[in-house]
């Protein structure tokens, strides 16, 4: 008998979260222990995961599958079904790393540390749940769980306009969630699936007509898309990032945006290929809009966090583009890019947070010469920026390269749009570095110092990931192509 690994991991996180909430001044130790334990479990899972188990009854098979009946009716069964494939594994790995990094970064959080760390863990728990859930109701449950701790993280520990930002975040994502839920339920009931299980929904959806698939895909695209966030429903993101505490920003950019991408791949692209094919032009338009818009607006920002937030929109646009091309290569690129963006944006947001509390402002035009005062911080900003603009040997490059190659392969010269925008992306990062890191020191308070040890360690973890996976992305790639999607006939 095999161990219910995923459930055990879930229990680890759940127990850790509860313990963290309960333990008062030792919360950070509990949180760190939980995160490390979770990371070890993920590593063990990755080590044991060699190949996907093959299709089962015409639907994708998943590794470490567990299924227990939850609610059973004669016409519908709702199960607790969890399982992983290469795509979700990579994102789980990202979750584990970001969790450790966030907990370490927030080591000296002084405002209700037990609640802060507990909420951080709860967010990661929700994300983990989303990545493993293979049942509509379970998926939705975890999806909604993520919202709550993030709402409080922004609303309690955030900046001056935190209430506005938290509410905006909640309303946007919640409206999208509802549309998504309606889409998922419609998918189940229109397809005549007798169960909420992913496998049966997948099989049943094959029989849907093109029109129905198109409408369902549209609903799901909107539902998942707001998390992406697709233009023009993206304005919650900059506000949320600017107001959120650093840990919140890290999780928001690193994980929450990935939920949208993952959901789209798992529940829309895989399940409704025909509907997707009908909507491909729309996906391209939205992706290009995100790429162009994110980059151009980022160029005009003076707040470091806003700049990184808009660059996130740009990068997630490339993710969407890679999904839209609908090929094995594109899918690989999308997942790879999500991982890369998760790590890189986390690093950049941590660096922004450090800039803010070291120098008292995040306004790029007011800062200058950080490299002299805080060389480690400057290095972090620099590596993050260079990784973000796609420098080879850093993690984004293989992802962007494959994404753009896949795009070129499918839509030819349209690839010039993201390519040219790469220059603009480079421009705003270089401009930011020139103004903020280099030049004569400006507005450097006398108390300014380089990073404390915990922030250095947190960023060093991410830095190591960026470099290691940048030079050897093969590990990630080999895991991702272990997804059932890659074994399916008919997938281009």
């Amino acid at each position: 008998m095999t161990l219910p690994v995923l459930s055990l991991m879930l229990v680890t996180l759940l127990g850790g979260t509860l313990l963290t909430f309960a333990s008062r001044d030792r919360a950070r130790y509990v949180a760190l222990a939980t995160s490390v334990a979770f990371l070890l479990e993920v590593s063990a899972l990755l080590a044991s995961y060699t190949v996907w188990p093959g299709p089962v009854n015409g639907s994708p098979g998943y590794a470490d599958l567990e299924s227990y009946s939850w609610i059973h009716l004669s016409w519908l069964s709702i199960n607790y079904t969890v399982g992983v494939d290469g795509i979700s594994l990579i994102l789980i790995l990202l979750t584990a790393f970001l969790q450790v990094a966030t907990v370490v970064y927030s080591w000296e959080e002084s405002k209700h540390p037990e609640a802060y760390h507990g909420l951080v863990l709860l967010t990661c728990l929700g994300c983990f749940g989303v990545f493993i859930a293979l049942d509509v109701l379970l998926f939705f449950l975890f999806w909604e769980i993520v919202l709550v701790p993030m709402f409080f993280l922004i609303g309690v520990w955030g900046g001056p306009r935190r209430r506005y930002a938290a509410l905006k975040f909640f309303v946007y994502t919640h409206v999208a969630s509802i549309v998504m839920l309606v889409g998922l339920l419609a998918l189940v009931f229109y397809s005549g699936a007798k169960s909420f299980d992913f496998a049966s929904v997948y099989v049943a959806a094959r029989g849907l007509s093109a029109t129905v698939q198109t409408f369902l895909f549209l609903a799901l695209f909107f539902g998942f898309g707001v998390k992406f966030p697709i233009v023009p429903f993206h304005t919650w993101l900059p506000d949320a990032h600017v107001e959120a505490p650093t840990g919140g920003s890290v999780l928001l950019a690193g994980l929450l945006l990935k939920l949208g991408g993952y959901g789209l791949i798992r529940w829309a692209v895989e399940v409704l290929p025909v509907g997707m094919a009908h909507l491909t032009p729309l996906l391209y338009v939205v992706a290009f809009a995100m790429i162009v818009w994110g980059s151009f607006v980022a160029l005009a920002q003076r707040d470091l966090k806003r700049l990184v937030a808009y660059s996130s929109i740009n990068h997630m646009g490339i993710v969407l583009l890679a999904i839209a091309v609908y090929s094995q290569l594109g899918l690989l690129a999308a997942v790879l890019l999500m991982f890369a963006h998760g790590v890189v944006s986390a690093l950049l947001f941590m660096a922004s947070g450090s800039v803010h509390h070291t120098f008292g402002t995040r306004d790029i035009s007011k800062l200058g010469g950080i490299a002299r005062t805080a060389p480690i911080l400057a290095t972090m900003v620099m590596v993050g920026s260079l990784a973000s603009l796609g420098l080879p040997a850093l993690i984004s490059f293989p992802a962007e390269f494959t994404a753009l190659l896949a795009t070129w392969d499918r839509i030819g010269y349209w690839v010039l749009v993201p390519l040219v925008i790469l220059v603009v992306t480079a421009a705003f990062y270089l401009w930011m570095m020139q103004r903020m890191l280099f030049g004569p020191a400006r507005n450097v308070p006398a108390t300014a110092h380089d990073l404390p040890w915990y922030e250095t360690s947190a960023m060093a973890i991410l830095l190591a990931l960026i470099v290691i996976y940048g030079i050897l992305p093969g590990f990630l790639v080999n895991v991702i192509v272990n997804s059932p999607v890659y074994g399916f006939p008919g997938f281009p």
Binding site: F296, V297, G330, P392, R410, Q434, G439
Partner: protein, 647 residues
């Protein structure tokens, strides 16, 4: 064998990052040089030998267009005649520059950073040279770019240095993304057109065993292929500072002079030409591509030389001369004689490094870069003056210096090509005109700096000769600048230059060639004489204020306003556009959201009037709802269902 040595050298280069002194870096660079010499020797013993070792970096799934079965990307080391040649250039110049740095940089802060970045720079360039496929090439290409970004911005506290670094990165980035597109196109057309070759499965390597993978497979002249070639040209233009992406190079003088020497002679800008050579040998260009390359090279050659004529900054004069000389190389590649371009790159590396290091020695001694403040430096700095003179003579193409042989080959190869391609003629004429300009401007700089009795600006510190670590590279490079030209007459060395189509160097011997040579030497000599007449013996020629040439001078000094134009473009168009986008974002998109918010607030205010607290009012809402639902269910729903034919 030799290959693994190179790798050890590369890895070693990285190790010294922890070291404080530059000697470790120098040691590793020296080791790399020794390895390179061994590699070259091996290549000379086995002519046309290709040795390729690679491992799979990524195994990628398919994409339905060109790669239905997936493909692999490899990282490998390819040692062939051209990479051996280039390796020699890179490591020799790199080693000498490092050695020179010990003396030149000794007073600077951040030396560990300096040597680490310099070593990484050399590593990246070495990796680029031995790349065995386009992707790996691009990878190191970008690393070279980012290292130059760091090094140009080495004095990051100077706003101008930070700005120049950014400009260098951005402008080359424009070329890079187009280069990337070119890679995509090559991948696609060769994976499909040359499908039988299995190029995609082999990891897109340049060579298959000991022959170029795509030799003969391309040959076509399809639009796609032309575009691919143009994209290569764009990439090379960005890196090698060809028109219209040349603006960053003069500004890159903000870095330490040693870095300038390295960038100009062996690493950054050479990479662009090297790319064109590699593409020309392994991938092939269409006739349209070649015309474009000739046009860019020929025009840049002349264009850059004109700007060098008036500039007062010694480093910038040499910088413009680099752009101009790179134009020659590009010209030769475009004319179909890739190895001639390579040959000029080879000699140019030595005499340009020599010029820069000599200029660095001058700057080190007097602490200024303004030619008009110098003067009379010949006497206190004999070695430097001699070195500069050798470099200048070589640059001017005066026999028997190295520059003569390679430049002469470039010109005669373009002449040869022009026989069958009349469209090349104007660029050949420009190239000849440039010979004259080159000799003039470099000797203008020489006379301004060294002739006369004393410095023109008396406040300058008393000049002194450089220490031995700086002199030694000057000696070596002087020697090389003199003798490098005769290397091709050594048969085994010539074999390095005789691969690919039109590989024979020099292309023609005979009366025509002699006439051409005489013409170029004559033009060079005329340039030197003019410079001597105007600037020799400490004279300063001042253009009359009312002269008709005054506006020309202004334009030249302002670099044809291209930099200003780009800045304006960037500021007005891109940044302006982004401001508009930001405005739109804040007030239209977010404004709409706020509008909806406000509307909802008002609506809820209105609806709140209904919340009277009177039970009967609530009851009436319930009743109204029930009645409405009943109407919907009983009358509307059947009607709708009947009309759509649903269940």
């Amino acid at each position: 064998m030799a290959v693994s040595f190179v790798l050890v050298g590369l890895l070693g280069d990285r190790l010294k990052k922890l070291e404080h002194g530059g000697w470790v870096a120098v040691g590793f660079a020296g080791a790399a040089m020794v390895v390179a010499v061994l590699v070259v020797a091996a290549e000379m013993l086995h002519p046309s030998h290709y040795s390729d070792q690679s491992f799979t970096w990524l195994q990628l799934p398919g994409s339905p267009g060109a790669f239905p079965n997936g493909f692999s990307l490899v990282i490998g080391v390819l040692v062939d005649p051209i990479s051996a040649l280039m390796l020699l250039v890179v490591t020799v110049v790199g080693f000498l520059v490092m050695l020179y740095s010990i003396g030149y940089m000794h007073a600077d802060r951040g030396l560990p950073r300096y040597y680490a970045e310099l070593s990484l720079f050399l590593t990246a360039m070495t990796g680029l040279v031995v790349s065995d496929n386009l992707l790996e090439f691009f990878l190191f290409w970008e690393l070279v770019g980012v290292c130059s970004y760091f090094l140009i911005g080495f004095y990051y506290e100077k706003p101008s240095a930070a700005s120049a670094a950014k400009e260098a990165f951005l402008v080359t980035r424009v070329g890079d993304v187009l280069f990337l597109l070119g890679i995509f196109i090559y991948f696609t057309i060769d994976a499909t057109a040359g499908g039988g070759l299995g190029w995609a499965a082999s990891g897109f390597k340049f060579v298959n065993g000991s022959t170029p993978f795509l030799a003969g497979a391309m040959g076509g002249s399809s639009t796609l292929q032309t575009v691919a070639g143009l994209m290569m040209l764009a990439g090379a233009a960005g890196k090698s500072a060809q028109f219209p992406l040349h603006t960053w190079l003069p500004d890159a003088m903000e870095g330490p002079t040693t870095v300038s020497a390295l960038i100009h002679a062996a690493t950054m800008v050479a990479a662009g030409v090297y790319l064109l050579v590699v593409a020309s040998l392994f991938l092939g260009f269409t006739p349209d591509d070649r015309l474009a390359i000739v046009a860019v090279g020929g025009f840049t050659t002349f264009f850059a030389a004109t700007m060098a004529v008036v500039h007062p900054d010694i480093k910038r004069v040499i910088a413009y001369s680099t752009i101009s000389q790179l134009g020659y190389m590009v010209l030769a590649v475009g004319a179909g004689f890739a190895m001639v371009g390579m040959y000029h790159l080879f000699t140019h590396a030595f005499f340009k490094a020599l010029l820069f290091l000599a200029a660095g020695s001058v700057i080190h001694a007097v602490g200024t870069q303004d030619l008009f403040k110098m003067g009379g430096l010949r006497r206190p700095m004999r070695v430097t003056a001699a070195a500069f003179a050798i470099g200048a003579l070589s640059l001017s193409g005066i026999p028997p210096f190295a520059g003569f042989f390679s430049k002469d080959d470039v010109l005669s190869s373009v002449y040869t090509a022009a026989q069958s391609h009349p469209a090349y003629w104007p660029f050949l004429i420009l190239a000849y005109a440039t010979v004259f300009l080159t000799a003039y401007y470099i000797f203008r700089a020489f006379f301004l700096a060294f002739s006369g009795d004393k410095t023109r600006d008396p406040t300058l510190p008393h000049p002194h000769e450089a220490p031995w670590v700086m002199r030694l590279p000057l000696y070596i490079l002087s020697g090389l600048a003199i003798v490098a030209g005769v290397f091709p007459f050594v048969p085994s060395f010539a074999s390095l230059l005789s691969i690919g189509a039109n590989g024979n160097v020099p292309p023609v011997f005979g009366t025509t060639d002699l006439i051409l040579s005489a013409l170029s030497v004559g033009l060079g000599a005329a340039g030197i004489l003019l410079a001597q007449a105007l600037w020799g013996n400490g004279r300063v020629y001042v253009l009359a204020p009312e002269s008709a040439l005054q506006p020309v001078r202004t334009i030249l000094l302002n670099r044809y306003y291209m930099k200003a134009g780009y800045d304006e473009l960037g500021l007005r168009l891109v940044y302006g556009g982004s401001r508009i986008a930001d405005f739109f974002e804040r007030y239209v998109i977010d404004g709409t959201i706020r509008g909806i918010e406000r509307l909802a607030a008002r609506l809820s205010g209105t609806l709140r009037q209904g919340q009277t607290g009177l039970v009967s009012d609530y009851a009436s809402y319930v009743v109204a709802g029930v009645v409405g639902l009943l109407i919907l269910l009983l009358f509307v729903a059947p009607f709708v269902l009947a009309s759509v034919g649903g269940p």
